[in-house]
Symmetry: C2
Subunit: 256 residues, 2 copies
């Protein structure tokens, strides 16, 4: 297996970094090939701009995803994007590891997604998204360290349901480009956790990575379960937290 | 009313920028005071790091939110953070305006949240979050331009339910710090929209801003609706997409 771990944490002496090291060691110990993009260590630039392309199709006004499409055909991405894109296309298994900041990834990792998940390669170019996305056949997992307690992230918990919180990443990033979404690994409340509990999380992560093939896969609808109006066909039972059937005439949130 | 608009778009000639200009003009025409943080124009740095503090409480290993807490007391934020924090605390009404990238904000705007929504001021310091958050009594709205069709963002639509997609921003950012969350303004499918439809969106946005006080407010649970176990009290009916009661023994996603 070829594994790409994209890691975002500002502190090399953090528990997050220890979790990264344990993950790499475990995967290599199993005979897998591993590459790591340590975004803080690389000084990765997260800000998408016109400088991301060595040639511009529309030099007067930036249309970012249309420039991505041309750059996919002409191989005219800036070198830092091309290097990350090469790693992404090399891997069978993607892991994004990060501390949960504001229910999401740190900005430096959001920028990695914005700049590296390029139109024309990773998705797009003839409706290639979801189960027809450019990364279909590969798998992806979030590995998250949190400052909150597990019991707060629950359907009746203070922060709400885990899969609602992570929908924008699971469905909007991984699912959108065709990646199979594995259940996330969560290390809870790290700031208030003692050395013993931290060691137990490192062991649990190693065990998860040794048995990655068995990790539960989150449900995702196929494109052919939606009609030409982009709505779930009436006969398809919704299987995700983001989907439900609406009665005719019921408000859908559109146009608000 | 004092309005802060935080704007993230890489292209000054975009529809997004026209929407910003129309918004500012409309609000000022109504007699409101307006400040704009145009993050791309400012060259805003979105990457949280130890350099965000002019003094460090824990110089050996960065604990970002604990440093924020000290900097809130000692006024030792880096100047670019302090300037944004001053604007944030000045406003009654916050608007984040951006193109939807990967079901979320562009990285440069995520970094504005990561660095400016500081522990010890905006939240924290004695359990101040949600309806006891540091920004309670103020209001906030997302103003979003999209590349997708409205009918795709629906409970039975390809992308899923709007309020599930935006939960991490509405609940995890605005709600968490005590901001009242107004229904978002959405300008759909802008890339494939003609001049007439764009003009109609500009007019609709102006109308929304003229009637902001009447904008629907999204439901949010109060802290006292949760028990000491951080779970919704059994007698409280869930009112948001991220919350539901779970039966005893039912899986909650915890510990996955």
């Amino acid at each position: 297996m070829r594994v790409l771990i994209v890691f975002a944490h500002p502190e090399p002496h953090s528990f997050g970094h220890a979790l990264l090291d344990r993950g790499v060691e475990t995967l290599r110990g199993q005979g897998h090939e591993v590459q790591v993009s340590d975004l803080y260590a690389m000084g990765f630039n997260p800000v998408a701009s016109g400088a991301d392309f060595t040639e511009r199709r529309f030099p007067d006004a930036l249309q970012y995803d249309r420039e991505q499409k041309q750059a996919s055909q002409k191989h005219t991405f800036a070198p830092d994007i091309q290097a990350e894109l090469d790693k992404l296309l090399w891997c069978d298994q993607l892991i994004l590891q990060f501390p949960l900041w504001w229910f999401s990834v740190p900005a430096i990792l959001k920028g990695w997604i914005d700049r590296v998940f390029v139109n024309g390669t990773v998705y797009g170019a003839g409706g290639r998204r979801f189960d027809r996305g450019g990364l279909q056949g590969r798998r992806a997992m979030l590995a998250i360290t949190t400052g909150c307690e597990a019991r707060m992230m629950a359907p009746d918990g203070l922060l709400g349901e885990r899969d609602v919180i992570l929908w924008h990443l699971h469905h909007g990033v991984f699912g959108y480009v065709g990646l199979q979404v594995q259940a996330p690994f969560m290390a809870w409340n790290i700031q208030y956790t003692d050395a013993e509990a931290r060691a137990a999380y490192l062991d649990a992560y190693a065990e998860r990575l040794r048995t990655l093939a068995d990790a539960p896969v989150l449900p995702m609808h196929r494109l052919d379960e939606f009609g030409p109006n982009w709505r779930l066909k009436p006969e398809v039972a919704p299987r995700t937290v983001g989907h439900r059937h609406v009665a005719i005439g019921q408000a859908t949130g559109e146009g608000a």
